[in-house]
């Protein structure tokens, strides 16, 4: 529906300094609607910082971030969320003393227009409750609906984290290391789950696990020292001379190993 030149998400020469240290040094990225992007890079490259800038947790020092062609830099996280961007966190960030069901329902309320209503009962909000049930089934936690978030197993907490992120129906989804800390078999199942729940969405993930990267991503962005040095399809990225020079070490070896394993 967008004109062909508008991207779902676009970063234009984004810079971010903390004190005198420049962490993000002029990053450019243009993501088309419906693309699935994995952002990879060595530790300290600024992957999580990029997510924090896009989602409004930090302000940019200079440069522009555009969501569906409209600038969002300088907006608060909730304003950015209302424009259709949602994110998950590397460390599960849940409403610990609320049940699984309530966690998801909180995340659908704004998108359905209930805002700060105190004249309606939650139990009567049919659309919100249906949407919540639907998300619970998608993330396969419908049988755990009454358990407090703090009492969930680790993998379940990760699933709830994703559930909260997608529940509001945002069109651009950022997942920060969704499979961090999971076992191999859990990771496999989880990648399938992520693929299912993000059908038709624009997806950006930060990921260390190369198996996940190749399992999920149409394109890979390589971030080194706060710059996007390559942004292309997986095969092209691997062949890229700059990537090999800057970022040859263990991660690429992992990548090849993971590819061989596929």
């Amino acid at each position: 529906m967008n004109a062909p030149e508008t991207f779902a998400l676009e970063l234009r020469d984004v810079r971010k300094s903390f004190g005198k240290t420049e962490i993000i040094r002029g990053s450019n990225l243009a993501v088309k609607a419906g693309e699935r992007i994995a952002i990879i890079g060595p530790n300290g490259a600024g992957k999580s910082t990029i997510f924090n800038l896009i989602s409004g947790r930090f302000g940019v020092t200079s440069g522009d971030i555009l969501l569906h062609g409209r600038p969002i830099s300088g907006l608060t996280p909730f304003e950015i969320n209302r424009r259709g961007l949602a994110r998950s966190f590397q460390v599960s960030n849940l409403f610990t003393r609320l049940s699984v069901f309530e966690n998801i329902r909180c995340a659908v309320l704004w998108s359905l227009g209930y805002k700060y209503a105190f004249w309606k009962f939650l139990a009567d909000l049919r659309d919100a409750n249906e949407r919540t049930e639907q998300v619970l089934q998608m993330i396969k936690l419908d049988r755990r609906r009454d358990v407090l978030a703090m009492n969930l197993a680790y993998a379940e907490q990760r699933a709830l984290e994703i559930g909260i992120t997608i529940a509001g129906g945002a069109s651009v989804i950022l997942l920060d290391e969704p499979t961090a800390g999971m076992s191999k078999s859990e990771t496999g199942r989880f990648v399938n789950l992520i693929r299912e729940v993000t059908v038709g969405k624009t997806l950006l993930t930060v990921e260390h696990d190369m198996g996940v990267v190749f399992g999920l991503a149409d394109k890979i962005a390589v971030l080194v020292y706060g710059e996007v040095i390559a942004f292309d399809e997986p095969a092209a990225v691997r062949a890229n001379r700059r990537v090999q020079e800057a970022y040859l070490g263990s991660v690429l070896a992992d990548a090849q190993a993971a590819e061989a394993g596929h």
Binding site: F78, N93, T96, L98, C106, L109, K115, Y116, F118
Partner: protein
């Protein structure tokens, strides 16, 4: 799919609310002495105030050190409104005067809350403390409105009596308070079931995440603060009618502290906790303060032990034991409870004797060293009395500690059994 589970849940809800209404209705008929009617009136007012306070503390994670500002200012505006009704300047039934208090509680929550709720956590608590001090200082600076040291007095028998209800007799006011108490409790409970009420819980648990699901935490806090201010103001308006005098201390730090302390004692984690807290508040302020000069010390000790050993307050203790009862495990523990209660009583006797002797020496020296304590005559300057009291205290404490250790083991075992049962049920389902 959850339908079949909801029906009995609703039935028990009707039962609970029915019992609550019945309790409010019947108590003034059972306890008819003027002291008990005064206390019941104060309990009704306290319930509204503590529940309103808990909208912030328990449901929103906001610790206010200055919430008497909103009930207190509500009281002042209500007493002025009452005096206008008396002098014929304002046409308003006396029964609606508390709503004037509520209106101004809300108004000041809108004004002062805007600044207060800009921050959460410790800065929030600090700002409430500052605002509380500010208003308390102002109350003494403007004697025209606040009445200076003497306060503002009024007469609730004003305007035309409706259906013979003049609110002159305490019992009539008691029922007015009961009506307000029930309606306000129901409204505040309803609030917890609304989108805003739930988002307030979310803000309490994880403000950061709330910002990433479309909500402004500041806005949620501000709206909750206003709702709390409204109900605090209503409580203030009722207390203006009840006492017919409002002095500057109603906006003071001591009153704010009492709301905090008793809401916490009752328990902030459950909706009904503050109701228990309010009952305790009136019992302590009216009865305990009559019983002993050292009542604040006892109160402080109770608060201290509650914070250390049962931070969920009395309501969470009740809920934990209801859970045990639901699994049929309460029978295993009741002997331990009995022993613990008995030994706590022994300790209290020992400690109480020593505390009372200290107070006697400090405050009642003119009466000589002899004093009465629980039917016995103690000599506050005699070695025997001190030795006896210390002996009782330390024996009690030692036996309490032994019993407590045994109880902790028992408790752990029972909880383990319950976990097992739950797992078996889940596996069977």
């Amino acid at each position: 799919m959850s339908q079949h589970r909801l029906i009995p849940k609703n039935a028990s809800r009707w039962l609970v609310w029915g019992l609550y209404a019945a309790a409010l209705l019947v108590s003034p008929l059972v306890f008819t002495s003027s002291l008990s009617l005064t206390m019941l009136s104060q309990i009704g007012i306290g319930i509204i105030a503590c529940l309103a306070f808990n909208m912030l503390l328990g449901q929103g994670g906001m610790l206010s050190f200055g919430h008497a500002v909103y009930s207190g200012l509500g009281s002042f505006f209500a007493i002025h409104a009452l005096n206008w009704v008396s002098s014929g300047k304002l046409m308003l039934p006396v029964s609606l005067v508390p709503l004037v208090g509520g209106l101004f509680g809300l108004l000041f929550a809108v004004l002062l809350g805007y600044v207060t709720t800009k921050k959460a956590g410790t800065p929030f608590a600090m700002i409430t403390l500052g605002v509380g001090e500010l208003v308390a200082a102002m109350a003494l600076m403007f004697p025209g409105f606040f009445g200076g040291e003497g306060g503002i007095s009024g007469n609730r028998v004003a305007g035309r009596a409706l259906l013979g209800i003049s609110f002159g007799p305490q019992v009539q006011l008691c029922y007015l308070i009961a009506v307000y108490c029930f309606v306000c409790t129901a409204l505040m409970f309803a609030f917890t079931r609304t989108p805003l009420g739930r988002m307030l819980n979310a803000v309490r648990d994880n403000p950061e995440r709330v910002e990433f699901i479309g909500y402004s935490t500041q806005h949620v806090r501000y709206l909750a603060f206003m709702a709390s201010g409204l109900f605090m103001g209503i409580a203030g308006g009722l207390s203006a009618l009840n006492f017919e005098i409002v002095t500057a201390e109603v906006v003071g730090a001591a009153r704010s502290g009492a709301y905090l302390l008793f809401t916490f004692l009752g328990g902030a984690l459950f909706f009904f906790g503050p109701i228990i807290g309010a009952v305790l508040m009136v019992l302590a302020l009216v009865l305990l303060s009559e019983l002993t000069q050292a009542w604040l010390l006892y109160l402080g000790l109770v608060f201290l032990f509650m914070v250390m050993y049962a931070p969920g307050g009395i309501s969470s203790l009740i809920m934990m034991n209801l859970r045990l009862a639901a699994f049929g495990k309460l029978r295993q523990l009741w002997t331990s409870y009995l022993a613990l209660a008995g030994l706590a009583g022994v300790m209290l006797v020992g400690a109480g004797a020593m505390i009372e002797m200290v107070y006697h020496l400090q405050l009642n020296q003119a009466l000589g060293p002899q004093m009465r304590f629980m039917g016995a005559t103690l000599n506050a300057k005699g070695f025997d009395s001190w030795f006896g009291a210390a002996f009782v205290l330390f024996t009690g404490a030692a036996m309490f500690e032994l019993t407590r250790r045994e109880f902790v083991r028992q408790w752990g075992r029972v909880q383990g059994e319950i976990e097992q049962t739950i797992k078996q049920r889940e596996a069977a389902a």
